[in-house]
Symmetry: C2
């Protein structure tokens, strides 16, 4: 049974109204009835056990019976990724499943894709919601509005420990830099054609660790999923309390 | 510049003929001419530097100038995966890029997909060829014909160290079992609905290590990519000679 997404849920919610696609999923696909129990989340770590008290043509009412919270493991792991011509949805889907906390899409020098429409942005948000339901997560990652790479990096380096994957780095591995992370981590992957050297130099000047993802040249979206999977699992293996 | 796939290449090859899609790619897309240099591989670790000596309407002749070999890192890592309704190509593409050595598709009890047509099988092989060209690999993974899960496991457990990811395992992590691998490793992931308990018990009876991929429930294809990425990187990080 999936966890349903109800962004209006707060600690003091007594009742929730569900409409639109979530309503259709619960009523038509799962055929839930009055009296049935559902679990919902606000995507910010708050869970509610609810009972369906009313169903009308276009919405249903849930009564909140109990709430609980689920803490996200620390440090949080963010992903900054260059917007690709294709496969942005694949990055959001897979990395949300894996547990990425927030996304920073950006435009680098060699970007083939140079803009993101409102519709495309909203699609990414929908993909993230579907992914947290799939994996029973109660943390909906925030997807930030895209920025130019250098502008983004100036902001990031204040609050994150930035780790950038570069195919021309052949010395420094991922685990050895993760070991020294002293704040939330932001993983960074470049566009289809890779970062330009001056972009990597700029990143180094802004406290960024440059790492290799091995001796194969990975597609951009594979690099994103790979660095996310390896960082999340490094954290899992290190902190046995997660098991 | 990609490495081209020429399965007929051997140590003693003096000349290679290229036709079909590889020919079209080199002639029409890359606009290569007589006298240009190309690098090709037989997908089994052998590389050849070649010069184009003749181009006709449907094929071209390459003269082999030098050959070299590239060893695959040990232990080899194989992936056995339940054939999915969708996303089998995604598994082959991403895991080939990452460096999986061979694939064992199978049918488990809860499989939604219960057959694989010759056309679908050939598509998987084409995806693998495209992926090794993309990532400059000289090792084309072998894709075996699908088997029933239990039949496959009986064969596998003779020659591999089998490691199965199960969402109901919550104790044993991946790295701790990889540490004890004493032969080639075969990673195993189940179908959309997960393995049945009796299948996991059968695997345990056949020397299989059962591991957790963390506290999120991953889609089947995400689990395949995640366990492959983490195993390959565990090997990379352990064996600094790979850098």
């Amino acid at each position: 049974m999936p966890i349903f997404y109800t962004p209006t849920l707060t600690f003091s919610s007594k009742e929730l109204t569900i409409s639109n696609s979530e309503f259709k999923h619960i009523k038509n696909t799962l055929r839930k009835k009055i009296g049935d129990i559902l679990v919902t989340t606000n995507g910010k770590g708050l869970l509610a056990e609810c009972v369906i008290t009313d169903i009308s043509a276009r919405s249903m009412i849930l009564e909140v019976q109990a709430t609980s919270t689920k803490e996200k493991s620390h440090p949080h792991i963010a992903l900054a990724f260059s917007l690709l011509k294709q496969h942005n949805e694949l990055i959001i889907e897979k990395c949300t499943e894996l547990g990425i906390y927030e996304f920073f899409p950006f435009f680098a020098e060699r970007n083939v894709k140079t803009s993101l429409s409102t519709h495309q942005f909203e699609r990414l948000e929908k993909v993230a919601i579907a992914a947290i339901k799939q994996c029973d997560s109660v943390h909906l990652p925030k997807i930030h509005k895209p920025l130019a790479f250098k502008k983004l990096l100036e902001n990031l380096s204040q609050n994150y420990y930035p780790v950038l994957a570069w195919e021309e780095e052949n010395r420094q591995g991922l685990h050895e830099v993760l070991e020294y992370a002293n704040k939330d981590i932001c993983l960074i992957v470049g566009p289809e054609g890779g970062f330009e050297k001056q972009e990597v130099d700029f990143a180094k000047e802004h406290s960024t660790q440059i790492v290799s993802l091995g001796n194969h040249i990975l597609r951009a979206e594979t690099a994103a999923i790979t660095i996310a999977a390896n960082t999340i699992f490094y954290q899992l293996e290190r902190d046995s309390a997660f098991y």
